[in-house]
Amino acid sequence: MLRKKAGKQRALRIYFATDVHGSEVCFRKFLAAAKVYEADVIILGGDFAGKAIVPVLTQDGTLRARVGGDEVAVPESQWDQLAGGLGKAGLYPVRMDAEELDRLTADHAALDRLFRGEIAAQMQRWCDLAAERLDPAVRCIITPGNDDPVDADPIIAAHPRVECPELELCDLGPVTMASLGVVPTTPWNTERECTEDELAKQIDEMLDPLPAGRPCILNLHCPPYASGLDDAPELDETLKPVIRGGRPSIIPVGSTAVREAIKRHQPVVGLHGHIHESRAAQKIGRTLCVNPGSDYSSGVLRGAVIDIAQDGSCLDFLLTTG
């Protein structure tokens, strides 16, 4: 459906969400967003992998697990309910016995394999779900973030219904989108990190083939530095939030390379995530930069609806909470 605004017509509606961190309910909402917001393309912009495994101990017909800091015990018949509740918050419930639990506690390599297996299995399920639920006319794009294991990329890329144009240019009709999930070095030494210089180089190399004057969208997981999209609590050397003046100190933690790239290339829109608490929209030059934020742990999907005109310009946007 085309819509007129200031003489321009809407040619493309994008729905963008990010940082769902394994939340089953958020991913299902992400798929539903295509219909609710009448989007032509839905983009999940990185950090789809969950952060924690909840060992669910099976003992004498009872399931025992640690939930929200408390010990819970339920009959085995309530497995679906327990697993569903944990999955909603992005946790991976894994049934095991005491022996397996001890082994994983001691064997970090085995634990890492278990994590990767859970993430891969979940991504496979999600891609299948997208194929099952999405209207064939809707494009579904999932790009990774710094917290996503690199071995998840091939699973998405190989799936016929989902696209994963990481470090690539992707034609969306009136605009071309370039995506990169790498972020500048963090204190947590995650899987996709590099220096600011390396990040600048990767962005430039990715944009090299873009024809001059072609409108583009930069889907960069890390937001630009000091843009209002990158405000996060300052941490001390023990990773504890710093309190100043009776409040947690909030500082910009985005990327200078991303900011420079946006200033230099002036894409139509910058799609960002990474900093959950910094939901914001800002203009840098002519570029509308958006970070919809994330509230995955409470099962709420934050996103952004962006309308693009036939000439590739941005018509309108709306930050959503669903």
């Binding site: 007129k4 605004k5 299902r28 952060k51 924690a52 495994i53 060992p55 025992r64 640690r66 939930v67 929200g68 800091g69 408390d70 010990e71 015990a73 339920v74 309530q78 309910q81 992005g90 639990l101 001890d102 994983l104 634990l111 890492d112 994590f115 917290d147 963090t186 947590w188 030494n189 000091a226 996060a232 609590p233 941490l235 990773l239 504890k240 939030p241 100043r244 003046g245 009776g246 409040r247 947690p248 909030i250 500082i251 933690v253 990474h274 900093i275 929209a281 800002q282 203009k283 994330s294 742990s297 409470s298 099962g299 999907l301 309108d316 709306l318 930050l319 959503t320 909470t321 669903g322």
Partner: protein, 554 residues
């Protein structure tokens, strides 16, 4: 070192350890955002730092001038009880919406997006109004500050300067100056602003503690003698009481007056639950928030009841009632007896008891410095509320523009400054008691929004507080408790609003300017929401109702 994103779901961060039973473990992988969350001491510090302890003297004064037979014991205790009940309601709201954005977000998520938007705009205006009233308080205390500084530095010129700054227009311009100082300071880096706030808080808390020590160390006779010496009138103490009697001031205590003052003392504790604003950074948020808030309320009850008890013992209730009322009903008669600023209350008593310049400076500057600290923190909160409205497209996006050079929200600060200055002139036309009453009313309405959100939470959004593994009957009981606590908070907030609106001695004092402020604050939300929605519809832009449309997961 910085956090690059949110921590893992509440209660899970950093729990990859072996507990007492094999299942008390959680495996957390190395991802960004895994932080060591704030514990009870830090959360308590945040709560206490959000309360301006010396503002209690302003609220004591408002209670004494607005009601006859006023005493503060009952209102201080009951108000603490109201906040204790509200604390549980906010605990449930924090659990449902961990990364809280305050009542605006609660109403949006739980009641309806439109209600949230309207409340958000109202709160933005209320906060701007509060910025100007805080500036007004600082301005009101400027004459007292100059008197104190004059005494400390033995300068008659400084002391006399204060006497020229008591007219409405002088107070208005002083308020504007305070607003400009706050706006200018807020353009510094976050670290510098935080340091300024920290030291200003330290100074006001120090002044409060020194005052307690001074009142404890001196006797009633010491006070009457100090007042006589300060006023150059050997019978100043008795003369004030006598003049008050002849001007119709009624002495004593009454439960009715105590009940009527409760809203003022509710305002006193405002900020004590603010650790819920950083819910996302708290270790086991519900528990930590509960302990921190309860400890903070307890500390404040002890401090304020303690200082009131000392004031009663050393100064006397009759004198405080006489001084506060005489200075309002017959300022000429009061001025003939003494030049002691009656609004200063306890700080004024401390000043005349003080014999050294350091404590005189502390008492003199406590309120203006406290107001600047509060306003510096409040300006950030207010600009963030404006940001939220801009991101929801109720205000133009450029309202949230971050400056390219200083990375500060210059546009939002300018808007707050302009509206705040307008309020400064409005508040200068209203007496202090009415301002306190209006502030009490606004914060009671905000508390009401929180109470309503908690009440309807189990009915409308039980999914937000699902507890994996909880038995169905236990869950039903738990949800019932949420409703009961929410309803109790709602009733107590309504009681506070009723107490303010039903007493002619408070509400009846509302002037045209005061009513105008009330109308602007309460009307801003619906008006702006309707304008934004209509304008966007006319432009055929994205429908605002899409912003919080519920997405079906299945």
């Amino acid at each position: 070192m910085t956090s690059s994103e949110a921590s893992v779901p509440a209660g899970t961060a950093g729990t990859a350890k072996v507990g007492s039973t094999p299942s008390t473990r959680l495996f957390v992988r190395q991802t960004s955002g895994l932080v060591r969350d704030l514990g009870i001491p830090a959360a308590t510090g945040i709560s206490l730092a959000s309360v301006a302890v010396v503002n209690t003297f302003i609220n004591f004064n408002a209670g004494l001038t607005d009601f006859t037979k006023a005493d503060m014991y009952l209102p201080l205790v009951v108000a603490a009880g109201i906040w204790l009940v509200a604390m549980f309601a906010y605990r449930y709201l924090l659990r449902a919406v961990p990364r809280a954005g305050g009542e605006y977000v609660y109403l949006s998520r739980i009641v309806s997006p439109a209600a949230g938007s309207v409340a958000g705009l109202g709160i933005a205006v209320v906060f701007t109004y509060v910025l100007s009233t805080n500036a007004h308080f600082a301005a009101q205390f400027t004459p007292f500050m100059l008197t104190g500084l004059g005494a400390a530095f033995h300068s008659t010129a400084i002391a006399n300067a204060g006497t020229h700054l008591t007219s409405n227009i002088a107070i208005a311009w002083l308020s504007v100056a305070v607003m400009l100082i706050v706006a200018a300071l807020s353009l510094f880096s976050v670290r510098i602003v935080a340091r300024i706030i920290f030291w200003l808080i330290v100074l006001q808390v120090l002044a409060f503690l020194v005052l307690i020590g001074m009142l404890a160390a001196n006797s009633h006779a010491d006070f009457t003698s100090a007042l006589a010496s300060y006023s150059h009138n050997p019978n100043a103490f008795a003369a004030i009481i006598s003049a008050a009697k002849s001007n119709g001031v009624v002495f004593g205590t009454s439960i009715a007056a105590g009940v009527a003052i409760i809203p003022f003392m509710v305002l006193n504790y405002n900020g004590v639950l603010y650790s819920y604003y950083v819910g996302g950074e708290l270790r086991r948020p519900g528990r930590t928030y509960l302990y921190a808030s309860a400890i903070s309320i307890g500390v404040l009850v002890v401090l304020w009841i303690g200082v009131w008890a000392l004031l009663r013992a050393r100064v006397g209730l009759q004198f405080m009632q006489a001084q506060a009322n005489l200075s309002v009903v017959n300022p000429t008669a009061y001025g003939k007896i003494t030049s002691l600023n009656s609004v200063a209350g306890g700080l004024g008593y401390g000043m005349i008891l003080s014999s050294d310049p350091i404590t005189k400076i502390l008492f003199a500057t406590a309120v203006p410095l406290a107001e600047i600290a509060v306003n510096l923190a409040f300006l950030t909160v207010t600009t963030r509320v404006l940001f939220a409205q801009a991101f929801d497209r109720l205000l133009p996006v450029r309202v949230a523009k971050i400056g390219d050079r200083n990375h500060a929200p210059n546009v939002a600060i300018a808007i707050v400054l302009v509206i705040g200055i307008g309020f400064c002139f409005l508040t200068s036309l209203v007496n202090l008691g009415s301002i306190v009453a209006l502030q009490s009313l606004f914060f009671a309405l905000i508390l009401l929004a929180g109470g309503i959100s908690a009440t309807v939470l189990p009915l409308r959004r039980a999914d937000l507080i699902e507890t994996p593994g909880m038995a169905e009957d236990a869950r039903r009981r738990w949800l019932r408790n949420v409703t009961l606590v929410g309803a109790a908070t709602t009733i107590l907030a309504l009681f506070t609003v009723y107490e303010l609106a039903s007493h002619s001695s408070v509400y009846g004092k509302f002037s045209l300017e005061s009513i105008l402020t009330l109308v602007i604050v309460l009307g801003a939300g619906p008006v702006i929401y309707l304008i934004a929605r209509t304008v966007r519809r006319q432009r055929n832009a994205l429908d605002l109702s899409m912003a919080m449309r519920e997405l079906p997961p299945e």
